[in-house]
Symmetry: D4
Subunit: 168 residues, 8 copies
Amino acid sequence: MTPKVSIIMGSTSDLPIMEKAAKILNEFEIPFEMNALSAHRTPDEVADFATNADKRGIEVIIAGAGMAAHLPGVIAASTSLPVIGVPISASLQGMDALLAIVQMPPAIPVATVGIDAGQNAGLLAVQMLAVGNKELKTKLLTYKADLKTKIVKANEELKHIKYNFKTN
Amino acid sequence: MTPKVSIIMGSTSDLPIMEKAAKILNEFEIPFEMNALSAHRTPDEVADFATNADKRGIEVIIAGAGMAAHLPGVIAASTSLPVIGVPISASLQGMDALLAIVQMPPAIPVATVGIDAGQNAGLLAVQMLAVGNKELKTKLLTYKADLKTKIVKANEELKHIKYNFKTN
Amino acid sequence: MTPKVSIIMGSTSDLPIMEKAAKILNEFEIPFEMNALSAHRTPDEVADFATNADKRGIEVIIAGAGMAAHLPGVIAASTSLPVIGVPISASLQGMDALLAIVQMPPAIPVATVGIDAGQNAGLLAVQMLAVGNKELKTKLLTYKADLKTKIVKANEELKHIKYNFKTN
Amino acid sequence: MTPKVSIIMGSTSDLPIMEKAAKILNEFEIPFEMNALSAHRTPDEVADFATNADKRGIEVIIAGAGMAAHLPGVIAASTSLPVIGVPISASLQGMDALLAIVQMPPAIPVATVGIDAGQNAGLLAVQMLAVGNKELKTKLLTYKADLKTKIVKANEELKHIKYNFKTN
Amino acid sequence: MTPKVSIIMGSTSDLPIMEKAAKILNEFEIPFEMNALSAHRTPDEVADFATNADKRGIEVIIAGAGMAAHLPGVIAASTSLPVIGVPISASLQGMDALLAIVQMPPAIPVATVGIDAGQNAGLLAVQMLAVGNKELKTKLLTYKADLKTKIVKANEELKHIKYNFKTN
Amino acid sequence: MTPKVSIIMGSTSDLPIMEKAAKILNEFEIPFEMNALSAHRTPDEVADFATNADKRGIEVIIAGAGMAAHLPGVIAASTSLPVIGVPISASLQGMDALLAIVQMPPAIPVATVGIDAGQNAGLLAVQMLAVGNKELKTKLLTYKADLKTKIVKANEELKHIKYNFKTN
Amino acid sequence: MTPKVSIIMGSTSDLPIMEKAAKILNEFEIPFEMNALSAHRTPDEVADFATNADKRGIEVIIAGAGMAAHLPGVIAASTSLPVIGVPISASLQGMDALLAIVQMPPAIPVATVGIDAGQNAGLLAVQMLAVGNKELKTKLLTYKADLKTKIVKANEELKHIKYNFKTN
Amino acid sequence: MTPKVSIIMGSTSDLPIMEKAAKILNEFEIPFEMNALSAHRTPDEVADFATNADKRGIEVIIAGAGMAAHLPGVIAASTSLPVIGVPISASLQGMDALLAIVQMPPAIPVATVGIDAGQNAGLLAVQMLAVGNKELKTKLLTYKADLKTKIVKANEELKHIKYNFKTN
């Protein structure tokens, strides 16, 4: 099946974070691909990838990188597809990566999610694909409802903990 | 015409930044609406807006706020539409707003752009609407080409400046 | 007994911090309740809670959250009760949560305590309840006196350590 | 009339910020006093003030200071009344004052509001006084409703601005 | 022997850092005392200590504290003796303590050393005592010479390591 | 008269800050000298200065510098006299200078004052010179008393301002 | 004359900073070129430039950019020539640009100078060209000597200022 | 063989970082030396080293230091050779060292690499030595090609991981 989302990471060491995006896409049954491409070590491959992603049927790109994280911005420079950037906390708790991804100059946006927020990157990609797609929107609403159920249940448990305190 | 993008700002003082998003949408001839709704002063209106935006035909939401900027996240909590967050530099150079918008918990992403980056918020909205929309994609490519032309021209001017230095 | 203080946390993972507030309330024999409600995953429940807390007899709300911590501010938006915010150090050492809680816009204050300072949140709640309550004020003075006794005792021990140095 | 709230500032240069708290208290017809006392230049006066505030009928203290802002914490050390701290942006955009006020050690809380947030300090004091005071609670609800009216009106104006864009 | 230096710490948990100052004073055979006094839990004791230190023969005070570290500044407020402040890294890597100690308002200086720099606090105290004291100055010069000898020796060892690299 | 304090600045552009130290020394009638010496542009002169300051009768050195502020530390490396460092806010609001001055390695302390705190540097020098000097100590106590008088007077004025509010 | 140094800036708005590098190169009579090329708006031109700079006789590249400053790193990715990066303070006082330039991943260094430090970028380029070039090294030593002369002269003037203080 | 690069570190505890530079130089068969010299503990040795490095045939200096990292700047002050600075993360995650190294004043550049980036310091030294050296440039291009091969291979592996997800 032609992938609709391409997950790119600057280094295979970013896999534990970027896998979370992949898991979300799997959950929503959205075909995707996952590659390691470095803005600094394989610049031509990154340019080729970005220039051709649209033609290959990719609709959304997720790019994660740490430190002076250029990958999402460099990809955004060569495509008109929306690019989701994931700052990886490889140094300075991820503040360097966050600023290097989010502070893009006018005209070349990167849709930045939180530090190490691979899961949210995956969900944001689903939300983008759901633009004009009723079926996917329905799935997203179900997903939200499930989240609520979980926390409501957690709440129930807390009420029991509370009474333990009271009797202290 | 039914608006496809809704631009929300926490305060009318954010208008100079959020107008830039509106200008981009105008340029791409995308119908939009613009409202001031505060997560803190009009919470019920925000919840109503977020819950019903989808049904009203809105496809993408752009929300800008400063300081402890809760507006984008609060809207994201009550909709499955993609929410673009614009941190406004009302204090601490916008670092507070950036962190309060981008560091969302798992499952509720906000697509964050740079501090005061209203223009990029508008473009990101266009990119999202262009998912599966060839015509809009073509317009985006033209927009990119125009940007390149401008900077190439600026380059030409720099070459003349350079010779002024040389003769010094 | 009707709870006078409501302790809310964004996630059950915040329990180890928020329990400290509960312990203080127990110590002062103030009835309380403890719930997990997420500004992002259960927004309607949060709004309901905040809107009705006053009618249910709650006098003070303590809300803890990490990252883009919206919970205290979102609750404050829908109640006139004082809301105490506890920034949780789930990321960036809690700086994101601190700014997302304390930098509230004009008219919607959140009484913010230090990062992970569950104990101080509990004490601040007691101080608020002691407004116009002589008995509770007396208890607070006793609590302060006990603290002093402890540190004076610690001082005694230090004096002995000192002489160990001297003989080196 | 005996003041119920005492507004203390580290220096008269903090007056423009701290006046905002006074204006709120005036609006709610709460008797207050306003003094300049420095934790560093008049330490004995600060200690006397803090030790005796309770006996003089003060119920809530608001203390504002900039830089290494010790005033709120030093007052909190010698009273059991709730102390609201206002970080003043005299240097480093107020980050030094914020941390010096909010990061109090266990057992001595300071209810910290945002940087230069004199108005919110005043409102928080009103909320504390409203604990167990129905009349004041009603006034606070009216105040909130007025805020909402203002922003809803601002929203109306934005709708007109929007159409100006459209015709461009 | 009457102590000339008083080492004060906000909490006994600061002992591992403050002991380093004590060790330096021992090394230079300067009589000292060591106490735990909290600006927040034992404010009267701190004021008494600071007001009377001079009369008791103390010449220099070293005060260490973490978080919203008020202790050095509060002591400086009630004495004309030089106060050396040691920021302790109890939270935020010590940045809160550093700013809360060093950013003192005009007229009340605190001589701040680095984060957790107990040893340097001790040495700075010795340097202050050496003002107008030839013997102590000579000891300080010897101390500096010893440091140099150590690092020159370390250098010799590095030269051997280097050749190991070369043969790789 | 032989200067007892030497005020060094990295650049003459630091004069407005460093003059404040000079004014304090004048006020206390302490002979001083003032020089511009750069750790980076005149390193040999700095080394000569630091090595010989003691022999020339200097008792305390005040050194101010901005950006990567090496001057205080470089001087401290070549003298056993106490060195007071003044971080100048030439960039990054002075945070770079503060860290470059205060975070000295073990064994080479710099007594750091606040950002741009020339006045406090002067007072700290006076406090150091007052070690074992009764007359200077008395002058310092008078100085402190005068400060208190000023703020007490400011307080009086505030009381009148307060009543203006009341009648509003 | 074939340029040996290429000065690239992300936007013509960076010219006031980057001109300072050009002025230094003029002073040392080193042929250079100056261009505006954007990593984000003209990515292909940047790649072409970087790939071919070496063949065109360029020996050192200076690249300045602000915000999420990718230009220096992107150029470094496609050349083996040394790349000097100049962080421009377009936002967040240049901290974003500094981190986005200096925190390069292993194997792709960028020689970073201070925020807005165009002059130092020029000098560093001269130092690199002086590797193995005696004549240029001599010029650099003369340049350093001139700097020293200037500051020594400034010192003379300060001595006069000092006496003005004394007579106050 | 006469060393062309001198690697200096402020303390032998910096060896694990600085060794990475040495390994790169070994890989490129560039003769080097490695020394521990402290700007603060052995200032005269540092000055001697910096003043004479050029005469001894050194072409590039690499200097690493942590905290208030003065070593690279102090060396740069006394030589015209290019100095590469390596900020070591001994405290505050290396932010103090980064700012203390990179924010050099006009006229004395330090070529700063990332925090703990010993390997990049080594490569930057090789790039500087390759100015006007074809053979070394060829080696650098081979090095870059090898890096690309490695990441392309890593990419292949990722493709297999991807299919594991798909079948989940």
